[in-house]
Symmetry: C2
Subunit: 300 residues, 2 copies
Amino acid sequence: MSILVLGTVALDNVRTPYGARRKMLGGSAAHFSMAARLFTKVNLVAIVGKDFPQKNIDFLEAKGINLTALIREPSGKTFQWSGEYKGDLNTAITLNTELGVLSSFQPQVSDEQKEIEYLFLANVDPDIQRHLLSHMQSPKLVALDSMNYWINNKRKSLLGLLKEVHIYVANDQEARSLSGEHNLIKAAKRLRSFGPKMVLIKKGEHGVLFYSDKFIFSLPAYPADKVIDPTGAGDTFAGAFMGYLAKSKAINMLNIKKAITFGTIAASFNIEGFGLERTAKLTLKDLNKRVTEFKKCILL
Amino acid sequence: MSILVLGTVALDNVRTPYGARRKMLGGSAAHFSMAARLFTKVNLVAIVGKDFPQKNIDFLEAKGINLTALIREPSGKTFQWSGEYKGDLNTAITLNTELGVLSSFQPQVSDEQKEIEYLFLANVDPDIQRHLLSHMQSPKLVALDSMNYWINNKRKSLLGLLKEVHIYVANDQEARSLSGEHNLIKAAKRLRSFGPKMVLIKKGEHGVLFYSDKFIFSLPAYPADKVIDPTGAGDTFAGAFMGYLAKSKAINMLNIKKAITFGTIAASFNIEGFGLERTAKLTLKDLNKRVTEFKKCILL
């Protein structure tokens, strides 16, 4: 089953204790795709500007990503994010955000793409997320990510949209902010009450917590000691998670647990290089090998 | 196999969003004992003052704790800790510490107690920890806990002592502070290089990380949504961990993983009530039942 991902394709300026990169290919949809492609066909819905290098287009296409719905808008500049990580690299400090063409983004998908059943709405304006969702014919699994900016500035819109998705994906800070609960289990329960049957809270170096009425699943992160650049780890997680579910088709407890495990391991590779450097080279064999290692570290 | 625990028996003044208690029985050795007693005979080594209520003595004895080495010093007051928790209850704010008789504490144990093979050196002055350790005849498993105060003020003494223990138990903040490493895996490796063959890093609501040359084990916390008072959770963890190992005798990978699981679950009960309120009533049956529930939340 193929996947449609709505999100950003960006040029990132990133600085970590291990170096810096300028105008590096990034964005939620790019990171998501680089992991999801290992499991299934990925259709990317995003917008870039006139400054977006052709080599990035070529790169994404070479990775098998369908770019039919990647708008190339000649009148503006590509979304740029500038950020820095210090100390334990667990929290990004945003230095600058230039929306560029993102501010006038209206996603357009083909009739064929409207029939895709697996949908990931990465962090963009909830109204844009809703717009795309309204055009989908028969979504089977819709996951939504957001961020504090929308939680604070478009709360009502976001809450409305949450009633229409199956999975709400958030980091711990966002989960606490939207739910108003400090305790993460309480936060997950509150978020569940907002609509989505499944809540997936990403805790960075502390792993992930999944909540549904049927079961709770808590998984630590892969014990990584090589952290170069965590940018996109959450979207990489989501890419492998959704990719695995789309490939396995049945959405049941076992597959959800496996999908979370693959997401965890995909994210552990993402942080080993700047941007997409590591995940671009990633294979399913790499993933499976590290899943086996990981199991030794977590299973009783 | 019985256990000897060196630590504090205190009168705690605690305030959390769920209420407050004054001069409540607490301290590292008391919390440790309340969990370890479920697995084995516990010998408590500590000091209290003239103000220490007889009812607390009676309570500990009724729980089967051997108090032969609990010094009752008539010339001073019992160690008092006053603290508060806010928000997510993950970090204690120390409001006041009155050492009282603790400042002149010289642990004394009987000849019989000197032969105990399982030893937990809870957080007190490293010189006191060393003094006790030097009197033990044939320690088989020695675990040591400390705190930032000693890391900052008696670093050399602490580092010397680490060469003589098997397990260093620390919270994430202490592990980072003593190792000088932000990344917890790197921190664990550095701490391992200081001497102890095993490093156990407690991460509060994020679970625990165990490191040894032979294996790494990472376990999330029990997904608790009832957090009343986290005071003593780390010592409760250590109590069940050491208790399980003392009972099972063989110190191998499987038993260490099981011991960490019991520690995690014991801690999850501790936080459900003020001080020892919940763990005083705890049974091995309660522990086993929740271990079974926990496994459903963590196993693939």
